[in-house]
Symmetry: C2
DNA sequence: ACCTGAACACCGTTCAAGT
DNA sequence: ACCTGAACACCGTTCAAGT
C-alpha cells in the first residue's frame, strides 16, 4: 500500500465533475451567463455534449455547483473574526458582495435559486453570528433571513446591471442612461426619482450596500 | 364631431398591445412562467406568432409590461395614506408582497430586471414617503434602495419557492423538504441551519417579511 | 397597416452506438 | 464505466407573402 507506485501519467483530459465545473466557471467569467451552453462546454472540454451528462445531472445543477464553489471560496477567505460580531457580519456580507460584483452570474444564480447551497452558506454565516450579537433565539430566524433577502436583492440588481453594462458600454454610461430614464418619467408622478436621479451615476455601490446592512443591523440590535 | 356615430361592432378579436398583455397575464397566472411562449400566446389569441411582434418588441418587454401593470394595480389599491409615514410604507410594501405572493412570476420578473418600471414604482412609492418620516435628503437614496433591495430579495425567494411548490406538491411539503435538506448537512459546519430548521415549515412568510421591513425602518429612523 | 405561418438559428436533453 | 454525436423536442425571432 505505502509502496504502491502512483501513476503520474494520468490523462490530463480525463473528464470529471470538477473539471466540468471549472470549465463552466471559465466560460461564465469570460463571456457571461448567456455563453454557457452544453455545446460551448463540450467544445472547450473536447468531448461530446452527452458526456457531460454522465457527470452532472443538468444545467441547473451545474450552475448551482459553480455558484456554491465561488461562495465557498469567498467565505473561506473572509472569516477573519475580529471578536466584534457586528464587524464580523459586515465582513462576511462584504465578501459575498465582492464575489457577486466580480462575477455577476453568481448573483444572478443566487437570486434566482435562493434555496440552494450558496445561499445557505450565507444564511449559516450570518445566523451563526447572531448569538454573539445578543439576538434572542426567537428572533434569529427573522434577523438572518432579513440580511439574506437584502443581499439576494442586491445580487439580482447587480447582475442585471452587469448584463446591461455589457450591452450599453461601461458602467458610467449605463447609470447615466438609467438616470435619464428616471427623469424622462412624469415629474408629477415620480418626484422622488427626479430628486435622486442626479445621485445615481456617481454613487458607490459598495457604500450603498454597507448602508443597507447598517440599517438592518441597527434594527436587529434595537429589537434585542 | 359630437354627432358622429360610434361604431360599436368593432371586431372583438382585434389584436392590440393591451389584449396581448392581458392574454400573457392569463397564461402566466394559470400555468406559470414556463408556459408563456409566443406559440401558446398566439394560439390563445388565434393569430400567428409574428403578429404579436407587430405590437410588442419582444418577450422581455412583454413580461416587463405585464409586471408593471400588476404592480400599478397593487399600488393604486393600497394607497390609503393614514398620516403615519411608517405605516404608509408598511402598507405599500405589503401590497407589493401580496401581489408577488399571488403571482410568483411578478416576483421573478422584478428580481431579474430590477431596473424596469415595476421596481421604479416601488422605489418612488417608498422614497416619496421618506421626507415625512424625517429622513434627511442625503440619506434617502440609501434608505429607499435598502427597502427596495430587501423586497426584491423576497420576491426572488418567493417565486423560487412557488416554482418548487409546483413540482413538489403543496407548500408544507415543500418547506418540510427544505428543512430536511438543512438538517442533512453537517451539523458541525451548519449549526445555525440545524437550530432553525424546525421553524421553517410552520413559519409565516408575511410575518417574516414585516419583521424585515421593521428592522430596516428602525435602522433608517435611527440614522435620522 | 396589420396579419400569417413557415423558416432560421438556436437551446437542453436523450440515447443508441461505440470503446 | 465512460464517451460520442446525431436526433428530438422545443424555443424566440425574422421575414416574405398575403390582405
Amino acid at each position: 500500500m505505502s509502496t504502491e507506485i502512483r501513476k503520474t501519467e494520468r490523462r490530463a483530459e480525463a473528464l470529471s465533475k470538477d473539471r466540468i465545473v471549472e470549465a463552466a466557471i471559465a466560460i461564465l467569467d469570460a463571456q457571461g451567463e448567456a455563453a454557457l451552453t452544453f455545446r460551448a462546454l463540450s467544445t472547450r472540454l473536447a468531448t461530446g455534449s452527452g458526456a457531460i451528462y454522465w457527470h452532472v445531472a443538468d444545467k441547473q445543477t451545474l450552475l448551482a455547483t459553480a455558484t456554491d464553489a465561488i461562495i465557498y471560496q469567498a467565505l473561506s477567505a473572509a472569516t477573519a473574526d475580529s471578536g466584534d460580531p457586528r464587524a464580523a457580519i459586515q465582513t462576511l456580507m462584504l465578501a459575498v458582495f465582492d464575489a457577486i460584483e466580480a462575477r455577476p452570474w453568481v448573483g444572478a444564480q443566487m437570486s434566482r435559486e435562493p434555496w440552494q447551497s450558496a445561499a445557505l452558506q450565507v444564511l449559516e454565516g450570518v445566523g451563526g453570528r447572531l448569538d454573539a450579537l445578543g439576538v434572542p433565539d426567537g428572533a434569529q430566524f427573522n434577523a438572518a433571513t432579513a440580511l439574506l433577502n437584502f443581499i439576494l436583492g442586491v445580487a439580482g440588481q447587480n447582475s442585471a446591471a452587469a448584463r446591461l453594462d455589457r450591452r450599453i458600454g461601461d458602467r458610467t454610461d449605463f447609470l447615466a442612461a438609467v438616470a435619464a430614464q428616471w427623469t424622462r418619467r412624469d415629474p408629477a408622478r415620480y418626484p422622488f426619482l427626479h430628486r435622486i436621479a442626479g445621485q445615481l451615476p456617481g454613487h458607490d455601490d459598495r457604500e450603498q450596500f454597507l448602508a443597507g446592512i447598517d440599517f438592518i443591523l441597527t434594527g436587529i440590535e434595537a429589537a434585542r
